[in-house]
């Protein structure tokens, strides 16, 4: 099994085998993370540039730690965001490339930005979120977490609840889960479901109870009112009245159903306090897996392609 890639853009262009390979590599990486000395030599002498055109504390932290655990040099370019706005993405990529970067972690507000950058640099590009498109790292850590709890994806019923229009991780998860053989149901305010959602091979329910009915896994999204046009949703209060995951709603799901959220969470909006603090909600597992998955992504790219091939 091998995965020959220079870059990671998203789950749309990965096969089920690719995804399984990344997940099993991530499981190996967890072994390193469980050591007292969390240092492995895989990326020794390599440099990782974190090029973020959007702020994000946790994604940056997990990429940075993952690179450091694998002994890479890490440079964070987020702070120079102001000058980045004036220079084209390709020119910025050239600059970083010429300085000898081996990996560029890009988060960018425009869909397709990682692909555009990858075309003009030697370095491997990892998409850490592009517009409303994809976020493969976050999605793979969700998949790893599900796999650890549920063993396999075949026949698993997964409900994705919330804002699918603006959530790139929800879309990556739809690509990944449907490829891996899970049954995916989605629910959310109709204004926040993707146009053409029914063609993604998922079932659409406006009644959230139908979506979570007999579900093994419930994935929620961030509800970012500030990021949205005010014409989509009247208020978060109204959202939670219809879509919040609470104990009442969980009665429809399987008894051992797990509830996940990509964070940062707004307590009581997407998920009720009671559920967040219950063992069914495994947000902490997700966070713990976030570094292992990124280590796996680095390792696979360093072995198979790009400047390191």
């Amino acid at each position: 099994m091998a995965l020959h890639r220079k870059d990671f853009f998203g789950l749309r262009d990965l096969t089920a085998d690719d995804i399984r390979y990344i997940l099993s590599t991530a499981e190996t990486m967890k072994y390193i993370l469980n050591q007292k000395n969390k240092k492995a030599p895989h990326l020794q002498g390599k440099s990782v540039i974190i090029l973020f055109y959007e702020q994000s504390a946790r994604a940056k932290l997990s990429y940075e730690l993952a690179a450091q655990h694998l002994s890479a040099n890490v440079v964070d370019m987020t702070n120079s965001a102001h000058s980045m706005e004036r220079e084209s993405l390709q020119d910025m990529g050239q600059l970083v490339d010429q300085m000898g970067a081996d990996f560029i972690i890009l988060r960018h507000p425009m869909a397709g930005a990682a692909r555009l950058l990858a075309e003009c640099v030697e370095a491997s590009v990892i998409n850490a979120g592009d517009g409303y498109n994809e976020n493969p790292g976050q999605s793979l850590l969700d998949l790893l977490t599900i796999k650890e709890r549920k063993g396999s994806f075949e026949g698993l019923k997964v409900a994705i609840i919330g804002d699918l229009l603006h959530s790139r991780v929800a879309k990556s998860n739809i690509w990944g889960l449907t490829k891996l053989g899970a049954e995916v149901c989605v629910s959310g305010p109709p204004t926040l479901l993707l146009p053409g959602i029914e063609k993604f091979g998922v079932q659409v329910h406006y009644d959230v109870r139908e979506a979570v009915n007999q579900a093994d896994v419930i994935l929620t999204t961030r509800m970012r009112m500030e990021a949205q046009d005010k014409t989509f949703l009247p208020s978060l209060d109204e959202y939670k009245r219809f879509f919040r995951i609470d104990h009442n709603l969980l009665r429809y799901a399987k008894e051992d159903a797990i509830v996940m959220h990509p964070g940062p969470i707004q307590r009581g909006i997407e998920i009720s306090d009671g559920v967040i603090d219950s063992p069914q909600c495994i947000i902490n597992d997700q966070i713990a897996n976030s570094v292992a998955v990124r280590m796996a992504m680095f390792y696979i790219l360093s072995q198979m392609g790009g400047a390191l091939a």
């Binding site: 749309r12 084209s88 993405l89 390709q90 960018h108 425009m110 869909a111 397709g112 930005a113 692909r115 555009l116 592009d130 517009g131 409303y132 498109n133 994809e134 790139r168 879309k171 993707l194 146009p195 053409g196 959602i197 063609k199 993604f200 046009d229």
Partner: protein
């Protein structure tokens, strides 16, 4: 200067396709058409049975001068047009300054006479600065020579202003070219709304953004009696509404562009910014409705939709890239390949769409057909061999195309404007 084009094949009545004709050109006009013509000291050009058509007339074209000469200018756009078989092009008013007064109209007309190898007919703006707030000096521009009014790719949101533009223009009987886009619906969209946009994570412009305003403008045209022309129709719904309007006897005409029947939104896959146009490329269903509209006469004209932009503005993230297409040099081969070669329409009908009807709508009485006394704006075409579309060879400054690499038929061998071979 006397010229005779020998052995021309003419495809429209009263001429017979079985015979070969000679066309005698004198003083820029077609002086005679017949078999085996002989004229003393006329220069002869033997066309050896090639098809001769009336030159194409582009109803929807951006020449970018004045103001954006780095993108395109009068001399490059006219060479590009000539290569594509267009002997006359129009000019959308979104130049800088905007064509909203007679000075700019006169500038374009005089500069075109000096520098352009094809005829250039400017459109005047409907609103001052194409800003959609105040009515432009349409009468002054009419007297200076505009052949239609338009706000380019801007849309007049105010129904009250649109209604007044329509009423006002009646005294000049000018056609009103409208790009139809409800901007509250198209919003931040950059491609057609739907599955493909969702797959790519790009915001969509729904069909209803176009259709809603096609409906509004048809309604206003009915009330005011204005001559409405819907520019670049891209959706099945728009075709249907124009068909209904025609059935009811309204003075409504419309055009589409080759990319709206030769491509779908799938051309945007891989974030191909060369396929970023406004209105956006739609779906196969829309393509089929447009083909039907072309075949049944609902669609009056095929315009190039030439809207050049710089390569720098295309080499960007899809959302940040400029809209635009370099289309003058691909319009005929794409239309010929997709419409005539496939048997959807005849070559004669294509000529109607690209020459005769545009001349009628714009009231260019000397153009649009091959007849004695008309301007000698002619093209000679070759339809047998195939060629590959190679944008790097375009005469336009915009050397890119979503059709790059496609194998097509239909080549323009000569373009003759006012009796002179210009390409």
């Amino acid at each position: 200067m006397k010229t005779i084009l020998k052995n021309c094949k003419l495809i429209t009545p009263p001429y017979s396709e079985e015979k070969l004709y000679d066309i005698f050109i004198e003083g820029g006009l077609i002086a005679d058409i017949g078999e085996n013509l002989h004229v003393e000291d006329a220069r002869e050009l033997d066309l050896d049975g090639h098809v001769v058509l009336p030159g194409f007339i582009d109803m929807h074209c951006n020449i970018c001068e004045p103001g954006f000469e780095n993108i395109e200018d009068i001399s490059t756009v006219s060479r590009s047009a000539a290569r594509g078989g267009f002997t006359s092009i129009t000019c959308e008013p979104n130049t800088k300054p905007v064509i909203d007064n007679k000075t700019v109209v006169e500038y374009i007309i005089s500069k075109s006479k000096a520098q352009a190898s094809v005829n250039i007919y400017p459109y005047g703006s409907m609103s001052m600065g194409c800003q959609g707030t105040a009515i432009a000096e349409i009468g002054e521009m009419y007297e200076a020579g505009v052949v239609a009014i338009s706000d380019g790719d801007e849309f007049i949101d105010s129904a009250a202003l649109m209604r007044n533009v329509m009423r006002y223009s009646r005294m000049f009987d000018l056609p009103i070219m409208t790009h139809c886009e409800d901007r509250s619906l198209s919003g931040k969209g950059v491609m057609n709304e739907g599955y493909t946009a969702s797959c790519l994570g790009l915001s969509g412009m729904p069909r209803e953004a176009e259709e809603l305003q096609v409906a509004r403008n048809i309604l206003l045209a009915e009330i005011t009696g204005a001559r409405l022309h819907i520019a670049h129709v891209s959706t099945g719904g728009s075709v249907r509404m124009v068909r209904d309007a025609k059935k009811r006897g309204l003075q409504v005409t419309c055009e589409t562009c080759p990319h709206y029947f030769a491509l779908t939104e799938e051309a945007v896959e891989d974030y191909n910014t060369f396929a970023k146009v406004n209105p956006p490329l739609r779906t196969q269903e829309d393509v089929e409705a447009i083909l039907e509209g072309i075949a049944d006469g609902t669609i009056d004209a095929i315009a190039s939709g030439h809207s050049p932009t710089s390569r720098t503005d295309k080499d960007k993230e899809f959302g940040n890239a400029a809209y635009g297409i370099s289309a003058l040099e691909t319009a005929f081969p794409i239309s010929f390949t997709k419409l005539v070669e496939t048997g959807i329409i005849s070559l004669a009908r294509l000529v109607e769409l690209m020459s005769k009807k545009p001349a009628e709508i714009l009231k260019l009485e000397q153009k649009g057909e091959i007849a004695v006394g008309k301007d000698a704006d002619l093209i000679v075409i070759e339809t047998k061999g195939t060629q590959i579309i190679e944008p790097e060879l375009f005469a336009s400054k915009a050397k890119f195309s979503p059709f790059a690499g496609q194998e097509v038929k239909g080549r323009v061998v000569y373009t003759i404007v006012g009796g002179k071979i210009v390409s």
